[in-house]
C-alpha cells in the first residue's frame, strides 16, 4: 500500500468524524499557537533589550571618578574628581583592548533660546563620545577635534531639547544661551528613544570638552573630568579592557596595593546582558509552559486514536483478511495521527502568528515571530503526533485478524 493511498484513507477516516477530529485537533492548535505566541513575546522582549544595548553603544565601559573618605564620611562615586583628561588619553593610547576613550564632564544646565528655556543634562566631551554611543547627527554636523582644540562655543542638541527650544524651527545656526554663555547650535542628534528604565536619552546636549571646562563646569572640577566613556574593541575583550583600565589607572594614580581604587569601572553591557539573559529565560519558560499544552494535545490524540482503533476493530480485521500486513495497519493509523497533528499544527501556526500580531497591536508589547520558532513548533506538533499515535497504531497492527473479524 503506497503512501498516497494511506494518506487518502487517513483523510477519509478523519472526515468521517469531523467533530471528533476537530476537537482532537483543537488540543494541538492551542498548543502550537501558544508555543508560537509565547516564543514571539519572549523573543520580542529579548530583541527590545538588544536594541537598547545597541542604542547605548556596544561594548561600553564607563570609568567614574572615585569615592573619597573624609573624616569618617564616605562620599559616593564621582563625588571627588580623580580622573584627568590625560587618564582618558592614556587609556585610548596605551591599551590594546580599547577602541575609543572619551573624557566626559557633565552637569545639569539651563538652556535659553529667545523666550524659551529648558533644563537638561549637558555633556562636555570629545568627538569620540558620539562614536562610542554610535549616535549620528541628523541635521547639521557633529563635534570635531577642531571644536575641542579651539574651545569653540558650539553645541549639539538632542531631539527633546531641540523640540522644546525651537519647536518646528531649524535649530542649526541658531544661538542658545547655556549658563548665560552664547553657544551656536551646529547639529541635532538622531532620535534615540528611552532607556529600559524610562530615561529620555534625547534630553541632552553636547559641547566640546574644553569649552565646558572653561565655561560650564570648570569651577567644580578644575582640570579634572567626571568620567571616561570607553569602548572596547569587541565583546570578547570587554573583561580584559576592564582589567587593563583598572591597572593603568592605579598605576597612574600611584595607588599602593593596600589602597582602594579612587575610581570605579563599570561595564554597562554586562548589566544589559543580564537583562537579556533573563529575557531569554523568560522566553524559554513561556515556551516550556506552552509546550505542556501541546503535550496535553498529544495525549488527546492518543486517547482519540485508541477509541478509533477499538471502534474500527472490524475494519482492521477486514483489511487483515484481504491481505494487509501488520505494517500497513500501523502506517495507516500512524499517518492518521500525524495528519491530525500536522493539520492542527498548521492551523495553530496561523493562529499563533495572528495572536502575536494582536498582542503587539493591542498591548504594545513587542513580539518577534521567527521562522525557527514556527519550524520548531510545527515539527514538535508532528513529533507529538508520531509519539502519541504510535501506541494506538501498534495496538491496531497487533490485532488478531480472527478476533477482529468477530468483534461486534
Amino acid at each position: 500500500m503506497n503512501f498516497l493511498m494511506t494518506l487518502r484513507i487517513a483523510f477519509k477516516a478523519l472526515n468521517r468524524n469531523k467533530m471528533r477530529s476537530g476537537l482532537t485537533m483543537l488540543g494541538i492548535i492551542i498548543g502550537v499557537s501558544a508555543v508560537i505566541a509565547m516564543i514571539a513575546v519572549g523573543s520580542g522582549a529579548k530583541a527590545r533589550i538588544q536594541e537598547q544595548i545597541a542604542s547605548m553603544g556596544s561594548n561600553l565601559i564607563i570609568v567614574l571618578s572615585g569615592t573619597a573618605t573624609s573624616g569618617g564620611m564616605r562620599f559616593g562615586t564621582g563625588s571627588v574628581p580623580t580622573l584627568t583628561v590625560d587618564d582618558a588619553k592614556a587609556i585610548a593610547a596605551e591599551l590594546p583592548a580599547i577602541k575609543y576613550a572619551a573624557p566626559v564632564l557633565t552637569g545639569v544646565v539651563q538652556v535659553v533660546s529667545g523666550n524659551q528655556n529648558w533644563s537638561t543634562v549637558a555633556y562636555g566631551t570629545t568627538p569620540e563620545a558620539l562614536l562610542i554611543r554610535d549616535w549620528p547627527v541628523v541635521n547639521g554636523r557633529a563635534l570635531t577635534q577642531a571644536d575641542v582644540d579651539g574651545r569653540a562655543s558650539v553645541c549639539l542638541l538632542g531631539q527633546t531639547v531641540a523640540d522644546n527650544l525651537f519647536g518646528d524651527m531649524n535649530p542649526v545656526g541658531q544661538t542658545v544661551r547655556i549658563k548665560k554663555f552664547p553657544f551656536t547650535v551646529v547639529g541635532v542628534l538622531a532620535l534615540k528613544g528611552q532607556t529600559t528604565w524610562g530615561q529620555d536619552q534625547d534630553d541632552t546636549l553636547y559641547v566640546p570638552l574644553t569649552t565646558s571646562q572653561r565655561l560650564l563646569f570648570g569651577r567644580n572640577f578644575p582640570g579634572m573630568i567626571r568620567s571616561i566613556s570607553v569602548q572596547a574593541t569587541g565583546a570578547e575583550t570587554l573583561k580584559q579592557a576592564e582589567e587593563e583600565i583598572t591597572q593603568l589607572l592605579r598605576q597612574r594614580h600611584r595607588l599602593r596595593s593596600d589602597q582602594e581604587n579612587d575610581f570605579s569601572v563599570r561595564n554597562l553591557t554586562e548589566a544589559m546582558s543580564t537583562a537579556e539573559e533573563s529575557a531569554r529565560v523568560m522566553s524559554l519558560l513561556l515556551g516550556a509552559i506552552a509546550s505542556i499544552a501541546l503535550l496535553v494535545g498529544g495525549i488527546g490524540i492518543m486517547n482519540i486514536m485508541l477509541v478509533s482503533v477499538t471502534e474500527r476493530t472490524r475494519e482492521i480485521g477486514i483489511r487483515l483478511a484481504v491481505g494487509a500486513r501488520e505494517r500497513d495497519i500501523l502506517y495507516q493509523f500512524l499517518i492518521e495521527a500525524l495528519v491530525l497533528s500536522l493539520i492542527g499544527g498548521l492551523i495553530g501556526l496561523v493562529i499563533g502568528v495572528s495572536a502575536s500580531q494582536l498582542i503587539s497591536h493591542f498591548f504594545k508589547w513587542p513580539t518577534l515571530v521567527s521562522s525557527q520558532a514556527l519550524l520548531l513548533s510545527f515539527s514538535f506538533a508532528g513529533g507529538v503526533g508520531i509519539f502519541f499515535g504510535f501506541y494506538p497504531a501498534s495496538k491496531a497492527a497487533k490485532l488478531d485478524p480472527i478476533e477482529a473479524l468477530r468483534y461486534e
Binding site: 468521517r16 483478511a321 484481504v322 491481505g323 500486513r325 480472527i402 473479524l405
Partner: protein, 249 residues
Amino acid sequence: MHDLIRVEQLVKIYDLGEVQVPALMGVDLCIAAGEFVAIMGASGSGKSTFMNIIGCLDRPSRGRYFLEEADVSDLTKDDLARIRNEKIGFVFQSFNLLSRTTALENVELPLFYNNTPSRARHQRAMEALSGVGLAGREHHHPSQLSGGQQQRVAIARALVNRPSLILADEPTGNLDTRTSLEIVDLFQRLNQQSRITVILVTHEQDIARYAGRQVIFRDGIVVQDLSFQPRQAADDLTRMPPAVQEAVS
C-alpha cells in the same frame, strides 16, 4: 487434477494459560482444485478453526498444511498476509464490508495491498462487480444495498485478485431463502464456469446439498466425507415462486 489443499495430522490447541483447549485433533484432508466442498458441523466441532487455518488467518499447533503443494504451516505473518491477498477470497456471514465506503472501493480493497496501479485497480473492481451482477451500483454504500447485494459486493471483493480458493463462512446465514439460493447459485457458477475452488462452511443441510462434497466435523476430527451429485441452484430458483422485489434504493 492436483490437490489445492492438503492437510496432514492438523492439530490446533488453544492455550488459555491454565487450560489447553484442543480444537482440532488430527485432521487429514485433501481438496482438489475445482471442487465445491461444504464443511459442516455443530458449533465447537472445530470447523471454524479449520477454516481459519485453511484461510491462513491462523497457524496450526502441529501438522502440515500444503496450499498448492507449498507448505504454509510455518510462514511468517507477512507471508500469510500475502497468501490471503493473492490466493484466497473470503466471504463472511455478516458481509464485512467497510461502511461509508462505496461498493467499488470495497472491492478495490485487496488491490490496495498488492500495489495495483489505480487504473487497473479501478478496472478490475468494475469487472468483478459486473461479474456478480452489480454493474451500475458501484457508487452505492453498503447501507444503500440489500443484504443479497452486500454479499455480492463481498463476493466481488473475494474474486478481484483472481484467487484459486474462495472461503465462505456461513455466507447465507443472514439472508432469506431466495437470496440464499441466488448466492449459492453464484458460487456454483463461479465453481463450474471459472473453475474456482469453493469451500463453504454451513450448518444448513439445505445449502450443503448444492456442494459436490460434504465434510462433517465433530469434536475436532472429520467424521464424514461424502461426495455426491449436487443439486443445481439455478434449477431450484426457476421452480421458486417469484419473490418480492428486493428493496433497492
